[in-house]
Each structure stands twice: as structure tokens, then as C-alpha cells.
């Protein structure tokens, strides 16, 4: 059973859809990422108010033939990976205002 978490896009990113992929650049260190179609759905739905479980259930599972519990685990793993790069925020509570990151000098 995965935890019920909330996810929100960082305010310090640049992003644009290019074909089926999403280009995301972190303003923190200018690292460029591309998200595939699945990751793009998760990322676009990461509004800080919708629980990750609901995103998987309503946005991802209907699009792909996948067993829901597996999808939930994979989505949490993906969210954690995006968060480790600073482009997604994760919280146990709804995220109303994506926090500013500390100054990196």
C-alpha cells in the first residue's frame, strides 16, 4: 500500500510540451529533463491539491493497461525521483503555494 501524498510542480522550473514529451528545465542548476508520456500526465496533474493516488486512479490508469497497485507504486517512485531533482514537491499535506528553494551560492 502506497502512502497518500500530494505533489506539486516547483515554481522554479521552465516547461513546455514538445510532441508527446514534456521538456522541463530546473532553474536551480539549468539541468534539462524530458518526461515521457506517463511522467508528463503525472507532472501536469501535480497541482498540490489532488492526491497522487487520485492522479494515478483517474488520469494514468484509464490511459494505460496497468494494474492499479503497481501503477501506484511506480507513480510514487517516479514522484520521488522528480522531487530529488527539485522539479516536483512532495508533501503529506496539500501544497497551496510551492515553496521557494533556498539560495544556492
Amino acid at each position: 500500500m502506497t502512502k497518500n501524498i500530494y505533489v506539486a510542480r516547483s515554481s522554479r522550473i521552465a516547461a513546455r510540451k514538445l510532441g508527446e514529451e514534456m521538456l522541463v528545465m530546473s532553474a536551480r542548476d539549468s539541468t534539462l529533463f524530458t518526461l515521457n508520456a506517463t511522467a508528463t500526465i503525472l507532472w501536469q496533474a501535480a497541482d498540490g491539491a489532488t492526491p497522487l493516488r487520485e492522479i494515478v486512479e483517474k488520469k494514468i490508469c484509464p490511459e494505460f493497461e496497468v494494474e492499479e497497485e503497481q501503477a501506484q507504486r511506480d507513480a510514487q517512485s517516479l514522484a520521488e525521483e522528480l522531487a530529488s531533482h527539485g522539479i516536483l514537491l512532495i508533501s503529506q499535506e496539500p501544497i497551496s503555494n510551492p515553496a521557494r528553494e533556498p539560495v544556492q551560492v
Binding site: A14, L18, A27, T31, F33, N36, T38, A39, T40, F64
Partner: protein, 380 residues
């Protein structure tokens, strides 16, 4: 450029997406640089509302990397309002400025808005040289202070220098200044003609001896033997190659709304005040013509030994009178680098006196990472 960004550029080319755009918000400036190619008078800049509408149209068209430049961008009183709008539309923002008007408050605001990088023009580490180029006493001190404010906020800063006779002895001084400030630096050995075609400022170019020395300086270009190696013969693939991204995945918009393939390629393709950005991008006859040009179509260049490796600028060729012709300044550059004259120079029986050179990037740019691709979630 990272491999990933190159891949995205290739994808954008396939999809017909303008991945990058450059907007000059104003041509007005608080410096009067001797080599500047712009007319600094205001002939009717786009309003805040017009620029915001343009930004929305660019975002919808797929523009990802947006360069905001001038003139001096901080002379626009609505600059931060424009920048906030651009960031709400999630552009990757690059700024070009002289940083004279950047103090702590501006630097913090740029940082809070998630600007990707700020390029600052510095022409010498010596005030008497830099200030003589800008014609503004104290400008070097102010620019360096601006850079320090940006660095104190953790911003990525790039010093941009232009090689001229006036500062040819200060290249390493600027390089060392960048290192001391903890920022990247680039050197453009190019003085471009005025946008109206006036070529008189080209006499500021540094000249053969300085260029020859520059091209063989390992601290600036890396391995000089590799850099100056004679060009390989053009292949059938290279004959079908594109000259650069101008008009293909990138474009430029002037403060008056004129859309060009590139800031260095002043071929008017339409005006965003009269037409939607995407309509110009897709339907402009001028852009279609630019996009149709391949190396095999170029008179002279297609038979030139430098054809496959030349950094021929189509904008410079256009300013010489023929976008399908050679850019003599780039011919001179190839000659200075390799010692082998181009077909164009041989035909003209010209001995190069000065050259338009490639921009030398001293420090690598973006890094890139793919995410989600190895995930176990099924990929459609």
C-alpha cells in the same frame, strides 16, 4: 549544447516547432557602445499588452527558450511585469543586459522569478578600456557590482565579450575576471554590421594578427591543432544540411513587432502586431524560402572546400545582398582558422583583412537528463 537539447532541437525541427525565440524589448540603451548594431531611438515599441499577447502566442506555439534582450531591458518600466508574465507561461528565460541597473532588489526578484541565466556584456577588465567602449564612465564598476548582486542570489551569470581592436589585449583579463567572479564567459570575435546594412563599424574588427593568435590560444579554443585542422571534403549528407536554426527552430522579434529568422538576419517575415505569431511562423513566404535553402543550393559555397565545416551565417550573407550567397566574413574566418582560402575568396582574389568568427564558448552550457523513460509504468 547538451546532447539532450540537440535531440530536442531535432524533434522541434521535425515537428515545425519554434523551440527558441529572442525578443528585443527595446532598442533604447543607457550605454552607447561603439560596436553596437542598433539604432537606439524609440520608433514605437510594443506596449505591455502587445508583448503579453505575443508571449501567450509564443507559448501556445511551443516556444520553450525565450531570450529577452535589447537595448537595455531594464530601461523598460514594465520589464518585471513582462518577466512575470513570461514565467507564468513557464518559459525558460535568458536575459541579456549590461547589469548597470541591477542592484540587490532586482537581483533577488530575478532569482525569485526563476530566470535561467543572465548574460552581462563586459569588454575589458580595465575601466579605461571598457568605459571607452560603452562611452559611460563608471560603467565597468556598475556592471561588476550588478554581477556580484546576481551571484549573491545564486544566479547563473555569463560574461559576454566582443573582440575588437580596442580590447584585443584584454581577452585574458576578462577571462580571469570571470573566474574571479565565479561566472562563465564567452567571447565573440564578431563585430556585426548595423541592422540597416551599414558596414562602417566593421572597421572595429581586431584584424588578422589578433585573430590568428586567438585561434591558436589553447586557453580559449582548447586543442589548437584540432581547431585549425584543414576541412574534410563535403559529403552528400552535408550538401543537404541546414545552415543554422534561424527560421527553422528559432526566430527573433524586434521591439516594433517585426519577426525575423534571427537577430542577425534582418529579413522581415511579418509583424506580430498585424498577424498571430503562429500564422507568421507557419505561413510566411520569407520563412519558407529560408527553410528551403540547403548547402547544395548555395552559389560558390557548394563547391567550396570549407562547405561542410563553414560557420556561414545566412544573415551575414543576406546583409551582403544574397541569402543564397557566401558570407565573406565567414570565408575570412575559415581562412584565418585553416590557412586555406574559400572558393569565394579565391574568386575575389581577396586576402582577408578581418574576419567574422564563431562564438567561442569557454564553459559548457546545459546538462541533460531523461526522466520517466526507464519507468515500469507502461509507455504508450
Amino acid at each position: 549544447m547538451s546532447k539532450l537539447l540537440q535531440e530536442m532541437g531535432d524533434r522541434a525541427l521535425q515537428l515545425g516547432v519554434p523551440l527558441s525565440a529572442h525578443i528585443d524589448l527595446t532598442y533604447r540603451c543607457n550605454e552607447q557602445c561603439v560596436h553596437c548594431y542598433l539604432d537606439h531611438h524609440d520608433h514605437g515599441e510594443m506596449t505591455t499588452t502587445e508583448i503579453k499577447r505575443l508571449l501567450k502566442e509564443m507559448a501556445e506555439a511551443g516556444v520553450f527558450i525565450l531570450t529577452l534582450s535589447g537595448g537595455e531591458i531594464f530601461l523598460r518600466k514594465d520589464f518585471f511585469e513582462i518577466l512575470e508574465c513570461a514565467r507564468e507561461l513557464t518559459f525558460c528565460i535568458k536575459l541579456k543586459t549590461n547589469a548597470v541597473l541591477i542592484r540587490q532588489a532586482q537581483a533577488k526578484r530575478l532569482r525569485d522569478l526563476g530566470v535561467e541565466s543572465v548574460q552581462v556584456s563586459i569588454y575589458s577588465h580595465r575601466p579605461e578600456v571598457h568605459d571607452a567602449v560603452t562611452k559611460v564612465p563608471g560603467s565597468l564598476r556598475r556592471s561588476i557590482e550588478g554581477i556580484r548582486f546576481l551571484k549573491s542570489q545564486g544566479m547563473k551569470v555569463i560574461i559576454a565579450n566582443v573582440l575588437m581592436t580596442k580590447n584585443a589585449d584584454d581577452i585574458h583579463g576578462v577571462h580571469d575576471l570571470a573566474a574571479e567572479l565565479g561566472v562563465e564567459s564567452t567571447l565573440d570575435p564578431t563585430v556585426s554590421p548595423m541592422m540597416d546594412g551599414d558596414r562602417s563599424i566593421l572597421n572595429l574588427n581586431a584584424g588578422d594578427a589578433a585573430l590568428h593568435k586567438l585561434f591558436r590560444d589553447p586557453s580559449l579554443i582548447g586543442n589548437a591543432e584540432e581547431f585549425c585542422v584543414p576541412p574534410p571534403a563535403p559529403t552528400p549528407d552535408s550538401m543537404d544540411s541546414l545552415p543554422c536554426s534561424a527560421g527553422h527552430t528559432g526566430c527573433y522579434v524586434s521591439p516594433y513587432g517585426e519577426l525575423y529568422p534571427c537577430v542577425a538576419f534582418p529579413l522581415s517575415c511579418g509583424n506580430v502586431r498585424q498577424q498571430r505569431f503562429i500564422d507568421i511562423w507557419r505561413n510566411s513566404e520569407q520563412l519558407k524560402e529560408v527553410r528551403s535553402i540547403r548547402l547544395r543550393d548555395l552559389s560558390g559555397c557548394s563547391q567550396c572546400v570549407h562547405g561542410a565545416t563553414c560557420t556561414r551565417c545566412p544573415g551575414m550573407a543576406f546583409l551582403e545582398g544574397n541569402m543564397r550567397g557566401p558570407s565573406t566574413a565567414d570565408c575570412q574566418k575559415s581562412y584565418a582558422r585553416t590557412g586555406i582560402p574559400s572558393a569565394n575568396l579565391q574568386a575575389k582574389k581577396e586576402v582577408p583583412a578581418s574576419g567574422r568568427l564563431i562564438q567561442i564558448q569557454l564553459v559548457p552550457g546545459f546538462t541533460g537528463t531523461r526522466l520517466g523513460h526507464p519507468a515500469t509504468l507502461p509507455v504508450q
